[in-house]
Symmetry: C2
Subunit: 403 residues, 2 copies
């Protein structure tokens, strides 16, 4: 507890935009987020009062950081699992617990566990040598997907492999570098969906509406809430799946379940693979994240409780907040850094605000680099096409070179 | 500009809850509010990254603070007017400008200027000695209101004077202490209203919906947005009045106009006093505040643009944000510190969140003292009576002693 306020101290390892926005939510709850940052220019370090410096891979730094925290949680998945375990063993509640966190850190462990649980997953196989991948591709037909088991995000650590020659070259090179690999079928998806739930140590789970995530070059560029034209039955199934996974994996805090919506009968074929024929659409789990997630940024203005407040409530074992939408349609667009030169971000803000007084802007305090996520915008309204166009224009004003 | 982000640095003098909540809004705009606090336990000092310490009455401290700020603004009205002027003369934009700020600092100057402008005000008179007040009370009939021209808020600096004997005693004592005074008629009000506008240096003004403010013992306990059953014509008149005042006084930033709704013909009687007979209700200006204001806390969740973001946009000469309501009914209830002992604030939060997952809480990081404003809650919905009851219950959970 913070002796000045009588309210808890939550420590977040990692000083990026997720910690930055969690600090905003912490302020409303009477708290001040403690942040473990790498550098004073980290997004959260620029705005938080209680910033410590140290590497998330350094157990001694983590122990120092945890001292006096009521709970330790994470802005990213890169804390070594054994360090999360060591902190918890030293008596600091660490959420998500190491036993859950590993499924967000290791795609092979995740695929194994989800397969055991009977959750819908793409066909997949561990890859220890080129032969595994060649056999998998021959069996399923090329191309197939190769993934690094650990460390990839935003399209990094994912390769589309077109045939045996590429498979041999790629696996040889990656295995030589010590990269653990899995292969997955290339799912013929209609679109990507995501559903977020928050779970408390008590076991209460609250689910947000299912959203559609729109990717470009492996990076999420747009989130539509709620997912347009999603049958109610499928939306409920997605929420139930996320609740079941959060519970089965023992997640505490937020869990984002990234899903593929695939054509085909609602269910699985005999061999456990997703049906890809006609009929009702089905769901397949793509990835898991156990923290506030880009697919939930829309909740800041678009849901009664933002994902950042919800994460704090969950890790503190407070009852969960209302997840209802605040408007019929909410669209979040990521702002990626544009080419260098041209207008300053400050000038761009003027033009954006002049054009759309209702667009809500979130800038992360980052130096602009081409392709880097430097912020996001959220627009609310009644008409999907109009709201989507406004969000895209707002992101464009902040992104592109204007001269 | 902050060289790390290319975005402006706004300095706010005063480290209370208004600066605390302005910092939350600054984070979204890519900024980090610079705060001049008195003490590390100040609400904003607990959560902001860029905190300087010094007294707001110390010109040297103010000059140091302003160094490197793109704009200096205020969390309260207690900066000496000549200091605000001196900073501006040294080349730092100070908003609201000293020439406007004086009307929020000195009730006599405000009453004189509003009278000149033809704005509806209660009958009033400067009081330099007991005779002035006795004459005023005899003329209008007792009781009358006596106010300190400077420094009062939340019911402090306001006295209801019942007759000549009390007038003589009170004025004698207050004048001996050097207090400048004015007398005002005791307006037979139906209720209190407030309207907020934000004005930029360019001159753009954006008005928020008119709200009803409910007072107890001179302290605002509840704000209802929009003001229930307010005729559209009167609402527009209130917004126009606030826009006209902001423009005429040269306000930059937020202006809160506190109003009395009085029975009587819509207009003024021949002698300039508000009509108090039957007919349409009329408006009378009670007080002005030139900063984010308690009557606007509902805007954090209840309007598309919060008053805190709007204040930043105004002082930075950004175009104003959308002021539309996000729900048909929004109710804000202040949380006052209850008696000492009993449950901790943290325990109270658990119970409140369990009862009402949709109540939004804002705690200011203050030590609880009986009667002290320690936070507020906001509830949104469709039905005024239900929303109001929920807000009252939420505030009760945070305020009262529960054992």
């Amino acid at each position: 507890m913070d002796s000045r306020t009588g309210l808890p101290v939550v420590g977040m390892v990692g000083g990026g935009q997720l910690a930055r926005m969690t600090h905003q939510a912490a302020i409303a709850l009477g708290q001040s987020l403690r942040v473990l940052a790498l550098d004073p220019s980290d997004g959260a370090a620029l705005v938080a009062a209680d910033v410590r410096y140290g590497r998330h891979t350094d157990l001694a730094a983590l122990r120092d950081f945890a001292e006096g925290c009521d709970v330790v949680t994470f802005d990213h998945e890169h804390v070594p699992n054994e360090h999360a375990r060591a902190l918890a063993e030293a008596g600091v509640p660490v959420y998500p617990p190491a036993d859950a966190l590993r499924y967000a850190q290791d795609k092979r462990a995740m695929r194994e566990r989800l397969t055991e649980l009977g959750a819908p997953v793409p066909r997949w196989r561990p890859v220890t040598g080129a032969d595994d991948l060649v056999e998998f591709g021959t069996e399923l037909g090329w191309p197939v997907i190769l993934k690094a088991a650990r460390g990839g995000y935003d399209g990094r650590g994912v390769w589309v492999v077109s045939g045996p020659a590429e498979a041999a070259e790629l696996v040889g090179r990656l295995r030589a570098a010590g990269t653990d690999l899995i292969a997955e079928e290339r799912v013929g998806l209609r679109r990507e969906l995501a559903v977020q739930v928050a779970r408390s140590p008590f076991g209460q789970v609250a689910a947000y509406p299912v959203v559609e995530t729109v990717q470009r070059d492996g990076i999420c560029v747009e989130v539509l809430a709620p997912a347009p034209r999603l049958p109610e039955e499928l939306a409920l199934r997605a929420q139930q799946l996320a609740i079941d996974l959060a519970t089965a994996l023992g997640v505490v805090g937020l869990l984002a379940v990234e899903l593929f919506e695939v054509p085909g009968a609602a269910g699985r074929t005999d061999d456990g693979s997703p049906a890809t024929g006609g009929g009702e659409p089905a769901l397949v789990v793509n990835e898991l994240a156990m923290r506030p997630h880009n697919s939930g940024h829309w909740t800041i203005e678009g849901a009664r409780t933002s994902q950042f407040e919800q994460h704090l409530r969950a890790v503190l074992d407070y009852p969960m907040g209302d997840t209802a939408l605040t408007a019929p349609v909410v669209v979040m667009a990521n702002v990626l850094g544009g080419p260098e030169g041209g207008m300053s971000t400050d000038e761009r803000l003027h033009h954006l605000f002049a054009e759309d007084p209702g667009a809500k802007v979130h800038l992360y305090g980052k130096q602009v680099r081409p392709g880097r996520k430097i912020g996001h915008v959220t627009v609310l309204g009644d008409d999907l096409e109009k709201v989507r166009a406004r969000a895209a224009r707002a992101a464009w004003w902040l992104r592109e070179r204007h001269e």
